[in-house]
Symmetry: D2
């Protein structure tokens, strides 16, 4: 039985869910999961919404199966969902319609520096079928993750930054990432990516920042958290944009600390939050649960 995730984004108007789900029903497709959200904050603020064109933003995600007896092979199912996508795109104005297989298996490339706790997390979650994605490659500045990658049978590329300009290094990293990739994960990657890199990147990039943003934007967040005497530290996973640490937030979490924690102990406690937050963000991305809504995200649970 072939199942798919179907995502629709468009301006809000009455009847959208009916239009979309009837398109499913007409093909005998059954809805297994459905999430829908209308961002009321995006509605025109003055006067009543004009009937029929609310102007808000509409986000829709469903997991759908096509009938087993009509899709004996994946090609038939592909064709079926291709026609569904066309019909939806035509019948819903200004819509973006996306279809991906369910369960998901996105291709993930991990960018790393020396620290390995987030790298291990990505690999372990993928190996135990919890990521809805597969780590196809680890690209690192330093030659420290080789044995780990070998153990788990994952391709490993080292792109040292010594003797290279930033431009040259970024070009080499892009080359190493390649194009057969759905999402790049910065697993405590310590170099800032240029606008040029971001424009050339073949897919979205998710970063884990080691603070509860917007607290402690920039460098050395744990030292600054310690100096400030905060009682909780956190981590933030976000899409990478040209504005450093300002990209749309996907997921955050915190852990309680107290006066006994030295800065080094904050770093160790923080590592657990970082890897958990990054895992949940990448998993949500792989499962098609995240929609961009301006500078914010809609993340279906």
């Amino acid at each position: 039985m072939a199942q798919r995730i179907v995502r629709v984004t468009c301006p809000d108007r009455p009847g959208l869910v009916g239009t979309i789900t009837t398109a499913f029903a007409d093909r005998g497709m059954n809805i297994l999961q459905l999430d829908q959200f209308t961002d009321a904050d995006a509605l025109p603020q003055t006067g009543a919404p004009v009937h029929g064109t609310s102007g808000g933003s509409f986000f829709f995600r469903a997991v759908v199966d096509s009938p087993a007896d009509r899709t004996p092979d994946d090609d038939a199912a592909d064709a079926e969902f291709h026609r569904l996508r066309e019909r939806l795109t035509n019948s819903v104005d200004d819509s973006i319609v996306e279809v991906q297989p369910y369960p998901s298996k996105l291709r993930v490339v991990v960018l790393a520096s020396k620290t390995d706790h987030c790298v291990v997390e990505m690999i372990r979650r993928a190996q135990t079928d919890q990521l809805s994605g597969e780590v196809v490659k680890v690209v690192a500045n330093h030659d420290v993750h080789g044995p780990l990658c070998d153990f788990y049978g994952i391709e490993h590329v080292v792109v040292p930054n010594a003797d290279l300009t930033k431009e040259e290094h970024e070009a080499a990293v892009l080359e190493a990432i390649g194009t057969d990739v759905d999402v790049v994960v910065l697993a405590r990657y310590m170099r800032i990516l240029s606008d040029d890199f971001l424009q050339k990147a073949p897919c979205p990039i998710i970063n884990i920042h080691h603070s509860f943003l917007p607290s402690f934007i920039g460098a050395n967040p744990y030292q600054r958290a310690h100096d400030r005497g905060v009682k909780m530290i956190g981590a933030t996973a976000h899409y990478v944009t040209a504005d450093l640490d300002e990209g749309p937030i996907i997921e955050q979490d915190v852990v309680r600390v107290d006066h006994r924690h030295t800065k080094d102990e904050l770093v160790k406690s923080g590592a657990d939050v970082e890897r958990n937050v990054l895992y949940r963000a990448v998993k949500a991305h792989c499962e098609g649960r995240i929609f961009l809504d301006g500078d914010r995200t809609v993340v279906f649970g």
Copy 2:
């Protein structure tokens, strides 16, 4: 603009969401929120599901508005939603369709003994528009909540149990509750209700049990939690059924404790969890978010 919560429960089959939401669209109704769940565990376990009759359980909740220009008054909207309800009931076999106003304002009667933290929670949440319900009456075994009820302008009935048989007392309590009520809340009410009472009760009853069920079923849970040396204590809100502490669980939460907590301190820490869990359960009930699924509940977030 008249808005309603529409709830549909039925056996699962393909096309349900399309059927329901098209019925909305045909009336120009817009979907503001939509939650849907199919209990796959209820599917037949042997062989593939028969096409068209999956046999599982389907739960649907939507918040819908009818167009403002067509419903200048509540009566017109009532009629519109009445017709919607009829159409859905007819077009979906074996379905239960329920319609209630949105935002909700259910009528809540609180049953109390001496303890008042849950009583105060219910009243305060209602007064600050956070309960989606209104506390219309407090019925108590003991004459201790009078001043509080007077302060908040809430009717207060004392039904002492001295000199009454259990039957007589329950009859008096039922009389005090009356029939103009949507949900009864046991706010740390310390008497066990008989099957007879439950059958005569005019509406569902929600209880807060002061343990993390199924741990410490029955009496003195905090003492037993202390003796057992648990590191967390909790509370459980559930619908009341004839089986003591066995009704469908609505909500649970815990709080961390340690060796320094005496039994009395467990009671105080527990009181905070109790009132929060009870509040969230009653609010979810008032907002039509809870469905019974056998001995379990589906609670839409």
Copy 3:
């Protein structure tokens, strides 16, 4: 049996705990609780610590009882603890020694604007013996808390700010607070206090800020949290200093939110965190658990 909280702060050096606890033992006093912390981060950073004078900061708190048979009355116990305090002050160089009754019952004055959830929290916690303090007075800018204060039998003073300069208003507020007070609590008090006010204040002041500091310092934190799309909102209780929102942090907590929360819903969710965080901070202060350590706090659990 007379019990006391004994607090000692001084530069760290070997033997401090022995010196202090032997002073207890010599008087037949028994230690019921003991917390001790040395701030290693305050140690000299260059070279090894000089033997015998580590230079770090030492914080000590104990709950002690004096023998029941030797203290039939409070006066005798007072005298006993007075002598203990003198001995400790003399035998520990550069020390600050503080003694307060246990269980604590500090005198709390609440400063309020219109919002009442933190005011109610303070009063209810005090009335149910959970604050280790007593709310002796509510001083407010607006005449809205009268009925509540009357109901709980608490003195209530209104100091409107209309027709008054900031100086005049602050003078009137200080007058209303009086001097028979141990701690002032800003329960969502919306006016910024001048340096002059802080210098004249008769006791420490605790504020609740409605964000997870240092995120969203200043005005409208919930709006800004919404615009930024954070996935958790929080609250921070801190001592008030001349630097707005920069005083030593006492306690923080967060609550999970998502894309469905409007700004108004963030405000409601935030209110629960605010009152809980403020309650825990004031309770810790009343119980003598908080020590200032530069710009940070040591809070014993």
Copy 4:
């Protein structure tokens, strides 16, 4: 500079902390951390406590350094702490005094069946210096952890249970564990250990149970949690005793679940809680933070 953890347990009486810490001070030892707890619940319940012999239980843990200039080598420090231990044992009646190096490095043997998430957690935490212990060996029923152990350079012994009686298998497991071990960790080890095994075991044994005890004692807790419709699932780390799942609880935690979780998803969500709870329990044990207090534990934070 040689540092040690010093633990003292004895019946409570006045002056204990003074006696102990003076013994430190007399040797120029400085206290870096100190935790102390008296179990008031263990006090005689009838009549006032007899002066000088309260009868309660007293638990004390300190991290102490001996002066660097007097302990140029470990042997000297060992001798110093040996004399301290003798003095304390002699001067405190009925006391148990234990001394272990600080930072701790206990020798941990892991017992495993097929599941590996807890095995990996133990190894990774140890390798990154977060366990205060070292995993010296993995003993397993099934030959599945070999590559992992080889990768991390850890000795690995397989003791299959086919063709062996329970007695024979347990004897082989005991043989494999050996005697050079401080704590045995059951990392989701699925066989019940006999009383005979427990009596012969060379050290304490910590188990992770996959439910929030005392809920769902025994087999298949996730299935039963699913059937019961609980809204949180948990895990419990405890010392193993002859009473199955009844040993003293060390640590517990929970994770929120809802109606969408199938039994298999509960298992996956639960795995994260299990490994975290087990990690915290073993770390606390290695650091000498746990004391047995009858059927309960005192765990210093």
